[in-house]
């Protein structure tokens, strides 16, 4: 049984915009699944249909074999959603928000209060439980939405850009929490613009662009298709001419920085040896971009050559 099964899903909004053009997708139970795509690709529409906030024009969505369209109530009881935008009453206290959310899933109040303490503590919000939510920081508000989504202890947790605008420390603590939830058996679907997170967290991936799935595979296979990597080299002395190394593309970014693109099978030792021979000393080196980002850009650019930027 799949945690999520999407069959030939289409959505055309009343203004004529075709947001989804027949998407089909399966997410295995227990998976940590990345759903990536540039802005306006259709990710949020897809999540909206899964969570019943958006009506599909045609096609079918099943959550744990339960049709969202025909058995909405049962399907929704399996889902926890962390939306992209803040959508809680900012005049209420975190404790009220999470306990009420549990009530909407039929969870009796005493149980809801226990769960509220458990998840607010795990997300480092317990000391803010009685504060007015409006006074919380951006990172706290994001964590509050995760705590709220956990109140029905969902089998499928959907996170729509949950770390947008959150500093790196809080982001990492959020991912530790989500990884733990996934390890306990909850299926997680993640959309994010921080592709290094998707690369390090997710086992499977779908890339969506212009309402169509342009790639749907496991992360390892996808990364294996990357045959060229680009490195940025910081030099000790300035250079006047661009060095040439056989089998590698080298460009000068400034007089003390080079960018070297080389096939994955070529050793970096060859690059350093050749530069050394030409009297160029490398001080430090880093990846130009993470591997998934390179692949993502390549796939999206291929799908839409005129696009200037993505992600």
């Amino acid at each position: 049984m799949y945690a999520l099964e999407v069959n030939d899903l289409r959505k055309t909004y009343s203004n004529g915009v075709e947001a989804l053009k027949g998407i089909s997708l399966q997410v295995e139970t227990g998976d940590f699944f990345a759903l990536l795509g540039p802005n306006g690709a259709g990710k949020s529409t897809l999540i909206g249909i899964i969570s019943s906030l958006v009506n599909a024009s045609s096609g079918e969505v099943k959550v744990f074999d339960t049709s969202v369209q025909h058995q909405r109530s049962l399907a929704m009881s399996h889902i926890g959603l962390v939306p992209q935008e803040l959508n809680f009453n900012q005049f209420e206290k975190p404790i009220e928000i999470v306990v009420n959310q549990a009530g909407y899933y039929g969870i009796p109040r005493p149980v809801a209060i226990e769960r509220a303490e458990k998840y607010l503590r795990q997300l480092n919000l317990w000391d803010k439980a009685e504060k007015i939510s409006r006074t919380l920081s951006g990172g706290m508000k994001r964590r509050l939405m995760i705590a709220r989504a956990m109140m029905n202890e969902p089998r499928l947790l959907i996170l729509d850009e949950p770390t947008a605008g959150v500093d790196i420390e809080i982001r990492r603590s959020m991912w530790e929490f989500i990884k733990e939830i996934n390890a306990q058996g909850t299926t997680v679907i993640l959309t994010t613009h921080y592709l290094e997170e998707a690369e390090s967290l997710c086992r499977n991936i779908a890339i969506i662009d212009h309402g169509e799935i342009i790639k749907n595979t496991d992360m390892r296979s996808l990364l294996a298709t990357l045959d060229v990597e680009t490195f940025v080299l910081d030099l000790r002395e300035s250079i006047e001419h661009c060095p040439s190394v056989e089998g590698m593309d080298i460009v000068v970014r400034d007089d003390r920085t080079l960018e070297a693109s080389l096939p994955k099978q070529r050793s970096l030792n060859n690059l350093f040896a050749e530069l050394e021979r030409q009297g160029i000393h490398v001080l430090s080196m880093r990846n130009k971009a993470n591997r998934l980002e390179e692949l993502f850009m390549g796939l999206v650019d291929k799908a839409q050559p005129s696009r200037e930027t993505a992600a």
């Binding site: 958006v54 049962l74 803040l86 959508n87 009420n100 009530g103 909407y104």
Partner: protein, 257 residues
């Protein structure tokens, strides 16, 4: 779908709504009490003494039922429209829309909250009225049922307004340009027997006339219309509005894309 889900969900919405009403009591309970006190002083005491009797009662006694039900109508409607539209505007209505709760439970929860505010304010206004004139309730059951059903009707009407509203201006138009004129012309301050025949005929097309007079009958035992018409108008209006709300919620009008 378990009864536990339905009941706990319903109670949660009602609790949330009542907590909201009490949290902002300075906006929800106090203003109508002050407004109605001014009505009692100006229309009941100062002007009413010169008017004399109406329907066999002092003018103050005559307007008390009308002012109570006017405040119930305004507050049931106002609570629903501001709370539901506020949830829609702030997007926290999505908390309910993604939950397993069926739409009729969401509707019932919000209506109960709105009725609760109407009854709270009605009770406060009635208490204020006792400072100005003694009232002997003639038919308590009729008084209560008319009050309760009227509050339900206007809570449902408020829901329709909130569903269609897209900006805050949209929730002020109906109360200002429809509700207020119909209420003031619905016999709150006078008996329609005082009107010329033509305007009496026009007045009977106003549904609020039946609610005001039904409630007045419950309190004082006098009415310009029959009790059967009062209950008939309220039940028909309530039924139409209930199914309209449910239809709109099921379609996702104004809520789901």
């Amino acid at each position: 779908m378990s009864n536990n889900l339905l009941w706990v969900g319903y109670v949660t919405i009602v609790r949330k709504e009542i907590t909201r009403i009490l949290r902002i009591w300075g906006q929800t309970i106090v203003p109508p009490a002050i407004t109605m006190t001014l009505y009692f002083i100006i229309f009941g005491e100062l002007i009413g003494r010169r008017i004399g009797e109406m329907g066999g009662f002092t003018y103050m006694q005559y307007i008390v039922p009308g002012l109570i039900i006017m405040s119930v109508i305004t507050n049931s409607y106002g609570n629903m429209v501001s709370s539901f539209f506020g949830a829609k505007f702030g997007k926290h209505i999505e908390e309910l829309l993604i939950s397993p709760l069926p739409n009729w439970v969401i509707l019932a929860g919000y209506v109960t909250g709105a009725v609760a505010r109407g009854l709270m304010v009605g009770t406060v206004v009635m208490a204020v009225s006792l400072f100005f004139t003694p009232i002997e309730v003639q038919h308590p059951l009729i008084m209560f049922t008319v009050l309760l059903l009227t509050a339900v009707v206007f809570a449902l009407a408020g829901m329709v307004n909130a569903i269609f509203a897209q900006k805050f201006d949209d929730i002020a138009i109906i109360p200002t340009f429809v509700l207020a004129p119909l209420t003031y012309l619905g016999g709150v301050f006078y008996s329609i027997s005082l009107l010329p025949e033509f305007w009496q005929k026009v007045s009977v097309a106003n549904p609020i006339l039946y609610m005001v007079n039904g409630f007045r009958y419950g309190m004082l035992g006098v009415s310009d219309v029959s009790l059967a018409m009062t209950y008939g108008v309220i039940l028909v209006a309530g039924g139409i509005l209930f199914f309209a709300c449910l239809y709109l919620l099921n379609r996702g009008t104004g809520l789901r894309s």
